[in-house]
Amino acid sequence: MTSVQLVSVTLALLLLAVSVLGAVIVTGRSVRRARQRRDARLAAEVRPLLIRLTGGDEDVEEVLRRLAALDRRRWNAVRASAVGLLGKVSGQGNAALTRLFEERGVARDAVADLSRRGSVRRARAATVLGLLRHAEAVPDLTRLLADRHPEVRTAAARALGRIAEPQAAGPLLDCLAGGRVPSDVVVQALIAIGPAARPALTKAMAHTAPEVRAIAAEVLGLIGSVGSVSALIRALTLDPSSDVRTRAARSLGRLGTPACLDALTDAVGLTYPTAVRAEAAGALGDVGAPAAVPALRALLADHHYRVAHHAARSLTRLGGPGTETLREAADGALGVRAAAHAREALAVLALAEGRHPARPAPAP
């Protein structure tokens, strides 16, 4: 074969390959479009039933029976809508959708999907199990907290929060170490578990990872765990991590017992790090006890802006004695620095109460 013939054959083969590839792409697109049109047609046919099931108060049995008996294609066409509605509707609508999912064996299929190779499928299955509050899936979902894909771990954590079984609290806290799941997702899940998460949270206060202790301290305050005040005071005074101490201060402010007031009053002292002092000054305002006024008054002239600022803002929340102290400071009784913070706090208070802030007196 001459070189000219060789080039001609190569070009012909290349042309053929390009043509075949083009035909495959065009066919693929056509098939996909046809499938989308078919799914849209099927969804339009079935969606009204789904809406009736979700929005109907009574007599949904017939609608439920028809939806449960749908063939796979029709069900797949409205499955995404059904899952979406399940997450956005409560009450009877949610109960009706949950029954539909049970009758179609969706939970069983989702549990099987948790072990599939595709990460999207695993994450989607975790989401569905969470929406269905399928408690039997808790062990499998807990296992997914160690999945190699972050989106699967996050979906599993969210699902565990929706199911809210106390046994998930420990594993959820553990996965904070090394940032395996975003902390806000874990916090929401732990809040959803509520007081039943307290044993795991208390145990986590002794975890080796500071990020775990910090979130445990924060959540104990958010769930109103008054029985954890001693553990939080210990963290506030002794924990080596400044983040843990500031979060413990915030939680003590939320819990607001007399022991919290004493601990926070101590924590505004100079032996504590500045971040902790500032947080404690703010938390004293959350406690709302006028007994904190002397400690906060002393902070108005603090050299650290955040400490003085938080103290002034807290005084606005302590009623008459707090406001009186701010007025006194605004008049210059505690120095120029304290006057500036006090004036700002009084102006913010006036705006919050719908009044015009008083103009500061002109400088002499």
């Binding site: 969606r47 789904l50 809406i51 009736r52 979700t54 929005g55 109907g56 108060d57 809508s81 979406g84 509605l85 997450g87 956005k88 509707v89 409560s90 009450g91 009877q92 609508g93 949610n94």
Partner: protein, 124 residues
């Protein structure tokens, strides 16, 4: 019974609300975004407006503010609907002039009752 304008970008939720409110005997005007909501309100002057907060282009809170600025719609009853349950978001919505606030997930029956309740208050 009343004319209710429903602005919600999620078609499933929109259709569910439309179904529920029609079942309660209301005439419902559905739209899928904030700008269309403003246009429809000015065209049709509904008795009450139900606005999703998170909509593309113009949020429900922006629409609420616009409606409150316009003398023709300043007193129109408005209910905001959102997935955001934070206290601050509720405050922002109410400060924008909303009469009520419904958080997702919501019960369709309770939503219909709340619409009725706001309408009754507005007509009193």
């Amino acid at each position: 019974m009343a004319i209710v304008l429903v602005a919600e970008d999620d078609p499933d939720i929109r259709d569910l609300i439309v179904f529920k409110l029609r079942q309660s005997g209301h005439t419902v005007v559905p739209v899928g975004d904030g700008r269309s909501a403003l246009g429809k309100v000015r065209d049709q002057l509904p008795d009450i407006v139900l606005l999703d907060v998170m909509m593309p282009g113009m949020s429900g809170i922006d629409v609420c503010r616009e409606l409150r600025r316009d003398q023709q719609t300043a007193d129109l009853p408005i209910i905001l609907l959102t997935a955001r349950a934070q206290e601050s978001d509720v405050s922002v919505g109410l400060a924008a002039g909303a009469d009520d606030y419904i958080v997702k997930p919501f019960s369709p029956r309770v939503l219909a009752d709340r619409v009725q309740s706001v309408l009754t208050r507005a007509r009193a």
